[in-house]
Symmetry: C2
Subunit: 190 residues, 2 copies
DNA sequence: ACCTGAACACCGTTCAAGT
DNA sequence: ACCTGAACACCGTTCAAGT
Protein backbone atom coordinates (compact mmCIF):
# COMPACT_ATOMS: atom_id res chain seq x y z
CA UNK A 1 0.00 0.00 0.00
CA UNK A 2 1.41 3.36 -1.03
CA UNK A 3 1.56 6.53 1.02
CA UNK A 4 -1.26 8.00 -1.00
CA UNK A 5 -3.47 5.01 -0.39
CA UNK A 6 -2.97 5.20 3.36
CA UNK A 7 -3.56 8.93 3.40
CA UNK A 8 -6.75 8.45 1.43
CA UNK A 9 -7.84 5.66 3.73
CA UNK A 10 -7.45 7.98 6.72
CA UNK A 11 -9.41 10.70 4.94
CA UNK A 12 -12.27 8.41 3.97
CA UNK A 13 -12.57 6.99 7.47
CA UNK A 14 -12.31 10.43 9.09
CA UNK A 15 -14.96 11.87 6.79
CA UNK A 16 -17.47 9.26 7.84
CA UNK A 17 -16.65 9.81 11.50
CA UNK A 18 -17.04 13.59 11.31
CA UNK A 19 -20.30 13.34 9.39
CA UNK A 20 -21.58 10.88 11.99
CA UNK A 21 -20.38 12.51 15.22
CA UNK A 22 -18.84 15.88 14.46
CA UNK A 23 -15.38 17.43 14.38
CA UNK A 24 -15.00 17.74 18.14
CA UNK A 25 -15.96 14.12 18.68
CA UNK A 26 -13.39 12.87 16.16
CA UNK A 27 -10.62 11.09 18.03
CA UNK A 28 -7.18 10.58 16.51
CA UNK A 29 -6.84 7.41 18.55
CA UNK A 30 -10.12 5.97 17.26
CA UNK A 31 -9.27 7.06 13.74
CA UNK A 32 -5.81 5.50 13.96
CA UNK A 33 -7.24 2.25 15.29
CA UNK A 34 -9.74 2.15 12.42
CA UNK A 35 -6.94 2.26 9.84
CA UNK A 36 -4.55 0.05 11.81
CA UNK A 37 -1.89 2.49 12.99
CA UNK A 38 -1.13 4.42 16.18
CA UNK A 39 -2.48 7.92 16.80
CA UNK A 40 0.99 9.47 16.63
CA UNK A 41 1.31 8.13 13.09
CA UNK A 42 -1.75 10.04 11.89
CA UNK A 43 0.27 13.19 12.52
CA UNK A 44 2.77 11.99 9.95
CA UNK A 45 0.10 12.44 7.26
CA UNK A 46 -1.75 15.35 8.84
CA UNK A 47 0.29 17.51 11.22
CA UNK A 48 -2.80 18.75 13.06
CA UNK A 49 -6.48 17.96 13.36
CA UNK A 50 -7.10 21.21 11.50
CA UNK A 51 -5.03 20.04 8.52
CA UNK A 52 -7.01 16.83 8.40
CA UNK A 53 -10.36 18.61 8.60
CA UNK A 54 -9.37 21.18 5.97
CA UNK A 55 -8.31 18.46 3.53
CA UNK A 56 -11.47 16.54 4.33
CA UNK A 57 -13.72 19.51 3.63
CA UNK A 58 -11.87 20.44 0.45
CA UNK A 59 -12.22 16.96 -1.03
CA UNK A 60 -15.84 16.75 0.08
CA UNK A 61 -16.65 19.96 -1.77
CA UNK A 62 -14.84 18.81 -4.91
CA UNK A 63 -16.55 15.42 -4.99
CA UNK A 64 -19.98 16.85 -4.25
CA UNK A 65 -19.54 19.42 -7.01
CA UNK A 66 -18.21 16.87 -9.48
CA UNK A 67 -21.34 14.79 -8.96
CA UNK A 68 -23.59 17.83 -9.43
CA UNK A 69 -21.76 19.04 -12.53
CA UNK A 70 -22.02 15.53 -13.90
CA UNK A 71 -25.79 15.78 -13.74
CA UNK A 72 -25.78 19.02 -15.70
CA UNK A 73 -23.42 17.60 -18.32
CA UNK A 74 -25.66 14.57 -18.73
CA UNK A 75 -28.45 16.97 -19.64
CA UNK A 76 -30.61 16.35 -16.57
CA UNK A 77 -33.42 18.98 -16.51
CA UNK A 78 -32.99 21.82 -14.02
CA UNK A 79 -35.84 20.77 -11.72
CA UNK A 80 -34.53 17.22 -11.52
CA UNK A 81 -31.09 18.63 -10.76
CA UNK A 82 -32.51 20.39 -7.71
CA UNK A 83 -34.20 17.21 -6.56
CA UNK A 84 -30.98 15.26 -7.06
CA UNK A 85 -29.22 17.88 -4.93
CA UNK A 86 -31.77 17.34 -2.16
CA UNK A 87 -31.46 13.60 -2.67
CA UNK A 88 -27.82 13.68 -1.60
CA UNK A 89 -28.85 15.09 1.78
CA UNK A 90 -31.51 12.47 2.18
CA UNK A 91 -29.11 9.67 1.33
CA UNK A 92 -26.64 11.00 3.89
CA UNK A 93 -29.30 10.81 6.61
CA UNK A 94 -30.03 7.21 5.70
CA UNK A 95 -26.43 6.28 6.43
CA UNK A 96 -26.29 6.22 10.23
CA UNK A 97 -28.18 9.51 10.48
CA UNK A 98 -25.15 11.34 9.11
CA UNK A 99 -25.04 15.04 8.28
CA UNK A 100 -23.68 17.05 5.41
CA UNK A 101 -20.05 17.78 6.25
CA UNK A 102 -20.53 21.46 5.51
CA UNK A 103 -23.53 21.59 7.81
CA UNK A 104 -21.99 19.93 10.82
CA UNK A 105 -18.79 21.95 10.45
CA UNK A 106 -20.87 25.13 10.23
CA UNK A 107 -22.43 24.22 13.57
CA UNK A 108 -18.97 23.72 15.07
CA UNK A 109 -17.46 26.83 13.46
CA UNK A 110 -15.95 28.48 16.56
CA UNK A 111 -14.05 25.26 17.31
CA UNK A 112 -12.46 25.16 13.85
CA UNK A 113 -9.09 26.45 12.70
CA UNK A 114 -9.28 29.35 10.25
CA UNK A 115 -8.27 27.14 7.33
CA UNK A 116 -11.22 24.82 8.06
CA UNK A 117 -13.61 27.76 8.39
CA UNK A 118 -12.42 28.90 4.97
CA UNK A 119 -13.20 25.45 3.53
CA UNK A 120 -16.72 25.59 4.94
CA UNK A 121 -17.20 28.93 3.22
CA UNK A 122 -15.82 27.54 -0.03
CA UNK A 123 -18.27 24.63 0.19
CA UNK A 124 -21.21 26.97 0.64
CA UNK A 125 -20.08 29.38 -2.05
CA UNK A 126 -19.50 26.76 -4.74
CA UNK A 127 -22.75 24.91 -4.09
CA UNK A 128 -24.72 28.15 -4.06
CA UNK A 129 -23.15 29.02 -7.41
CA UNK A 130 -24.09 25.64 -8.82
CA UNK A 131 -27.67 26.10 -7.60
CA UNK A 132 -27.71 29.56 -9.19
CA UNK A 133 -26.71 28.16 -12.55
CA UNK A 134 -29.32 25.42 -12.44
CA UNK A 135 -32.04 27.72 -11.13
CA UNK A 136 -31.33 30.25 -13.87
CA UNK A 137 -32.55 27.71 -16.44
CA UNK A 138 -35.93 27.46 -14.73
CA UNK A 139 -36.29 31.17 -14.04
CA UNK A 140 -34.61 32.90 -16.99
CA UNK A 141 -36.12 36.31 -16.20
CA UNK A 142 -34.93 36.46 -12.62
CA UNK A 143 -32.26 38.99 -11.71
CA UNK A 144 -28.87 37.63 -10.57
CA UNK A 145 -29.23 38.99 -7.05
CA UNK A 146 -32.66 37.48 -6.56
CA UNK A 147 -31.47 34.24 -8.12
CA UNK A 148 -28.64 34.00 -5.65
CA UNK A 149 -30.93 34.70 -2.72
CA UNK A 150 -33.24 31.93 -3.84
CA UNK A 151 -30.37 29.50 -4.32
CA UNK A 152 -29.22 30.30 -0.81
CA UNK A 153 -32.74 29.86 0.51
CA UNK A 154 -33.10 26.43 -1.11
CA UNK A 155 -29.74 25.37 0.29
CA UNK A 156 -30.52 26.66 3.79
CA UNK A 157 -33.96 25.07 3.82
CA UNK A 158 -32.54 21.67 2.88
CA UNK A 159 -29.73 21.94 5.44
CA UNK A 160 -32.30 22.85 8.08
CA UNK A 161 -34.56 19.95 7.17
CA UNK A 162 -31.56 17.63 7.49
CA UNK A 163 -30.58 19.15 10.84
CA UNK A 164 -34.06 18.69 12.27
CA UNK A 165 -34.36 15.17 10.90
CA UNK A 166 -31.04 14.32 12.53
CA UNK A 167 -32.20 15.85 15.80
CA UNK A 168 -35.29 13.67 15.85
CA UNK A 169 -33.54 10.65 14.34
CA UNK A 170 -36.35 10.36 11.79
CA UNK A 171 -35.94 10.76 8.02
CA UNK A 172 -39.68 11.37 7.76
CA UNK A 173 -39.05 14.84 9.18
CA UNK A 174 -36.79 15.57 6.21
CA UNK A 175 -39.36 14.23 3.77
CA UNK A 176 -42.21 16.20 5.35
CA UNK A 177 -40.26 19.44 5.24
CA UNK A 178 -39.30 18.92 1.60
CA UNK A 179 -42.87 18.11 0.64
CA UNK A 180 -43.95 21.40 2.20
CA UNK A 181 -41.16 23.20 0.33
CA UNK A 182 -42.48 21.77 -2.93
CA UNK A 183 -46.10 22.62 -2.09
CA UNK A 184 -45.16 26.23 -1.48
CA UNK A 185 -42.91 26.51 -4.53
CA UNK A 186 -39.51 26.84 -2.85
CA UNK A 187 -38.60 23.57 -4.55
CA UNK A 188 -39.91 22.59 -7.99
CA UNK A 189 -42.86 20.13 -7.96
CA UNK A 190 -42.16 16.42 -8.07
CA UNK B 1 -25.89 33.15 47.63
CA UNK B 2 -28.19 30.15 47.91
CA UNK B 3 -27.78 26.75 46.31
CA UNK B 4 -30.44 27.58 43.77
CA UNK B 5 -28.70 30.78 42.78
CA UNK B 6 -25.42 28.97 42.20
CA UNK B 7 -27.11 26.22 40.27
CA UNK B 8 -28.85 28.77 38.10
CA UNK B 9 -25.60 30.65 37.59
CA UNK B 10 -23.96 27.47 36.31
CA UNK B 11 -26.90 26.83 33.99
CA UNK B 12 -26.91 30.32 32.57
CA UNK B 13 -23.18 30.29 31.94
CA UNK B 14 -23.27 26.78 30.46
CA UNK B 15 -26.13 27.68 28.15
CA UNK B 16 -24.20 30.53 26.63
CA UNK B 17 -21.14 28.34 26.23
CA UNK B 18 -23.02 25.53 24.50
CA UNK B 19 -24.83 27.93 22.16
CA UNK B 20 -21.49 29.51 21.30
CA UNK B 21 -19.28 26.44 20.94
CA UNK B 22 -21.39 23.31 21.24
CA UNK B 23 -21.91 20.52 23.74
CA UNK B 24 -18.68 18.67 23.02
CA UNK B 25 -16.64 21.84 23.38
CA UNK B 26 -18.15 22.63 26.78
CA UNK B 27 -15.50 22.13 29.44
CA UNK B 28 -16.41 21.55 33.09
CA UNK B 29 -13.14 23.20 34.07
CA UNK B 30 -13.86 26.33 32.02
CA UNK B 31 -17.43 26.39 33.26
CA UNK B 32 -16.31 26.01 36.88
CA UNK B 33 -13.74 28.78 36.50
CA UNK B 34 -16.42 31.07 35.03
CA UNK B 35 -18.59 30.70 38.14
CA UNK B 36 -15.69 30.67 40.60
CA UNK B 37 -15.56 27.04 41.74
CA UNK B 38 -13.55 23.93 40.88
CA UNK B 39 -14.63 21.48 38.20
CA UNK B 40 -15.27 18.72 40.75
CA UNK B 41 -17.81 21.00 42.44
CA UNK B 42 -19.93 21.28 39.31
CA UNK B 43 -20.66 17.58 39.75
CA UNK B 44 -22.26 18.39 43.10
CA UNK B 45 -25.02 20.25 41.23
CA UNK B 46 -25.05 18.14 38.08
CA UNK B 47 -23.76 14.56 38.46
CA UNK B 48 -22.88 14.26 34.78
CA UNK B 49 -22.49 16.45 31.72
CA UNK B 50 -25.65 14.81 30.41
CA UNK B 51 -27.65 15.94 33.48
CA UNK B 52 -26.43 19.47 32.94
CA UNK B 53 -27.28 19.47 29.25
CA UNK B 54 -30.71 17.94 29.83
CA UNK B 55 -31.60 20.59 32.41
CA UNK B 56 -30.23 23.25 30.11
CA UNK B 57 -32.31 22.12 27.17
CA UNK B 58 -35.46 21.74 29.27
CA UNK B 59 -35.22 25.28 30.65
CA UNK B 60 -34.37 26.64 27.22
CA UNK B 61 -37.51 25.12 25.76
CA UNK B 62 -39.67 26.41 28.61
CA UNK B 63 -38.33 29.96 28.37
CA UNK B 64 -38.55 30.05 24.59
CA UNK B 65 -42.13 28.82 24.71
CA UNK B 66 -43.10 31.22 27.50
CA UNK B 67 -41.91 34.11 25.35
CA UNK B 68 -43.84 32.84 22.33
CA UNK B 69 -47.02 32.20 24.30
CA UNK B 70 -46.68 35.68 25.74
CA UNK B 71 -46.89 37.10 22.23
CA UNK B 72 -50.09 35.22 21.53
CA UNK B 73 -51.63 36.29 24.83
CA UNK B 74 -50.78 39.91 24.07
CA UNK B 75 -52.85 39.57 20.93
CA UNK B 76 -49.99 39.89 18.45
CA UNK B 77 -51.30 38.99 14.94
CA UNK B 78 -50.34 35.56 13.62
CA UNK B 79 -48.00 36.82 10.88
CA UNK B 80 -46.13 39.02 13.33
CA UNK B 81 -45.86 36.06 15.69
CA UNK B 82 -44.03 34.12 12.98
CA UNK B 83 -41.69 37.03 12.37
CA UNK B 84 -41.05 37.35 16.11
CA UNK B 85 -40.22 33.64 16.15
CA UNK B 86 -37.68 34.18 13.39
CA UNK B 87 -36.43 37.26 15.19
CA UNK B 88 -35.27 35.15 18.12
CA UNK B 89 -32.96 33.19 15.82
CA UNK B 90 -31.60 36.39 14.33
CA UNK B 91 -30.93 37.88 17.75
CA UNK B 92 -29.09 34.72 18.79
CA UNK B 93 -26.76 35.06 15.79
CA UNK B 94 -26.01 38.65 16.74
CA UNK B 95 -24.67 37.51 20.10
CA UNK B 96 -21.27 36.06 19.28
CA UNK B 97 -22.65 34.14 16.30
CA UNK B 98 -24.50 31.81 18.67
CA UNK B 99 -26.89 29.09 17.59
CA UNK B 100 -30.27 27.95 18.77
CA UNK B 101 -29.61 25.40 21.53
CA UNK B 102 -31.97 22.92 19.90
CA UNK B 103 -30.17 23.29 16.59
CA UNK B 104 -26.64 22.80 17.83
CA UNK B 105 -27.68 19.86 20.01
CA UNK B 106 -29.44 18.31 17.01
CA UNK B 107 -26.15 18.48 15.11
CA UNK B 108 -24.37 16.76 18.01
CA UNK B 109 -27.10 14.17 18.60
CA UNK B 110 -24.98 10.99 18.51
CA UNK B 111 -22.75 12.47 21.23
CA UNK B 112 -25.68 13.14 23.57
CA UNK B 113 -27.06 11.01 26.38
CA UNK B 114 -30.55 9.66 25.73
CA UNK B 115 -32.09 12.10 28.20
CA UNK B 116 -30.61 15.03 26.27
CA UNK B 117 -31.78 13.60 22.95
CA UNK B 118 -35.26 13.43 24.45
CA UNK B 119 -35.04 17.11 25.42
CA UNK B 120 -34.07 18.05 21.88
CA UNK B 121 -37.14 16.21 20.62
CA UNK B 122 -39.31 17.95 23.21
CA UNK B 123 -37.98 21.30 22.07
CA UNK B 124 -38.81 20.57 18.45
CA UNK B 125 -42.22 19.12 19.23
CA UNK B 126 -43.40 22.00 21.43
CA UNK B 127 -42.20 24.71 19.05
CA UNK B 128 -43.76 22.96 16.07
CA UNK B 129 -47.02 22.80 18.00
CA UNK B 130 -46.84 26.50 18.79
CA UNK B 131 -46.19 27.27 15.12
CA UNK B 132 -49.17 25.09 14.17
CA UNK B 133 -51.45 27.05 16.47
CA UNK B 134 -50.29 30.40 15.14
CA UNK B 135 -50.34 29.26 11.52
CA UNK B 136 -53.89 27.93 11.88
CA UNK B 137 -55.09 31.50 12.40
CA UNK B 138 -53.68 32.57 9.05
CA UNK B 139 -54.76 29.46 7.15
CA UNK B 140 -58.06 28.41 8.75
CA UNK B 141 -58.99 26.04 5.93
CA UNK B 142 -55.79 24.05 6.01
CA UNK B 143 -55.94 20.45 7.22
CA UNK B 144 -54.08 19.60 10.46
CA UNK B 145 -51.59 17.32 8.74
CA UNK B 146 -50.70 19.90 6.11
CA UNK B 147 -50.55 22.57 8.79
CA UNK B 148 -48.06 20.58 10.78
CA UNK B 149 -45.91 19.93 7.73
CA UNK B 150 -45.83 23.62 7.00
CA UNK B 151 -44.98 24.50 10.60
CA UNK B 152 -42.12 22.01 10.44
CA UNK B 153 -40.97 23.45 7.12
CA UNK B 154 -40.90 27.00 8.51
CA UNK B 155 -38.96 25.83 11.56
CA UNK B 156 -36.47 23.83 9.49
CA UNK B 157 -35.96 26.65 7.00
CA UNK B 158 -35.17 29.12 9.79
CA UNK B 159 -32.83 26.68 11.54
CA UNK B 160 -31.07 26.10 8.24
CA UNK B 161 -30.71 29.81 7.56
CA UNK B 162 -29.17 30.22 11.00
CA UNK B 163 -26.82 27.28 10.46
CA UNK B 164 -25.57 28.68 7.16
CA UNK B 165 -25.22 32.18 8.57
CA UNK B 166 -23.18 30.76 11.44
CA UNK B 167 -21.02 28.83 9.00
CA UNK B 168 -20.21 31.96 7.05
CA UNK B 169 -20.08 34.20 10.12
CA UNK B 170 -22.39 36.64 8.38
CA UNK B 171 -25.91 37.55 9.54
CA UNK B 172 -26.67 38.84 6.05
CA UNK B 173 -26.91 35.21 4.95
CA UNK B 174 -29.74 34.73 7.44
CA UNK B 175 -31.49 37.88 6.26
CA UNK B 176 -31.14 36.98 2.59
CA UNK B 177 -32.59 33.51 3.14
CA UNK B 178 -35.53 34.87 5.11
CA UNK B 179 -36.24 37.48 2.47
CA UNK B 180 -36.40 34.73 -0.12
CA UNK B 181 -38.69 32.70 2.16
CA UNK B 182 -41.03 35.68 2.35
CA UNK B 183 -40.90 36.29 -1.40
CA UNK B 184 -41.93 32.73 -2.07
CA UNK B 185 -44.62 32.64 0.60
CA UNK B 186 -43.06 30.22 3.08
CA UNK B 187 -43.03 33.09 5.56
CA UNK B 188 -45.74 35.77 5.63
CA UNK B 189 -44.79 39.06 3.90
CA UNK B 190 -43.17 41.79 5.96
C1' DA C 1 9.68 7.01 4.32
C1' DC C 2 6.83 5.45 7.81
C1' DC C 3 5.84 4.16 12.46
C1' DT C 4 6.25 3.98 17.54
C1' DG C 5 6.16 4.75 22.97
C1' DA C 6 6.47 8.09 26.17
C1' DA C 7 5.56 12.48 27.71
C1' DC C 8 2.79 16.87 28.03
C1' DA C 9 -1.37 19.52 29.32
C1' DC C 10 -6.00 18.82 28.53
C1' DC C 11 -10.88 16.32 29.31
C1' DG C 12 -15.21 14.17 32.39
C1' DT C 13 -15.69 11.62 36.41
C1' DT C 14 -15.01 9.59 41.07
C1' DC C 15 -14.01 9.75 45.78
C1' DA C 16 -12.15 10.39 50.16
C1' DA C 17 -11.41 14.33 52.78
C1' DG C 18 -12.18 18.84 54.32
C1' DT C 19 -15.36 22.89 56.26
C1' DA D 1 -24.55 21.48 52.54
C1' DC D 2 -20.90 22.69 49.70
C1' DC D 3 -16.25 22.45 48.13
C1' DT D 4 -11.63 20.47 47.27
C1' DG D 5 -7.15 17.87 45.53
C1' DA D 6 -5.80 13.79 43.72
C1' DA D 7 -6.47 10.06 40.85
C1' DC D 8 -8.34 7.62 36.63
C1' DA D 9 -8.66 6.88 31.61
C1' DC D 10 -9.35 9.81 27.96
C1' DC D 11 -7.82 13.77 24.35
C1' DG D 12 -4.38 16.29 20.55
C1' DT D 13 0.31 17.08 20.06
C1' DT D 14 5.42 16.65 20.23
C1' DC D 15 9.62 14.29 19.85
C1' DA D 16 13.34 11.29 20.16
C1' DA D 17 13.95 6.77 18.67
C1' DG D 18 13.25 2.88 15.84
C1' DT D 19 12.97 0.33 10.99
Amino acid sequence: MTNKDKKQEILTMARGMVQARGYNALSFRDLAAAVGIKSASVHYYFPTKGDLAATLAHEYTDEFLAYLNGLVEEGVPWDQCIHAFAGVFRKTLLRENRMCLGGILAAERPDLDLEVQAEVERFTELLVQWLCGVLAKGKPKMKPKELRRQALAIFAAIEGAQLMARGSGDVAVFDDALEAYSDIGLLPPN
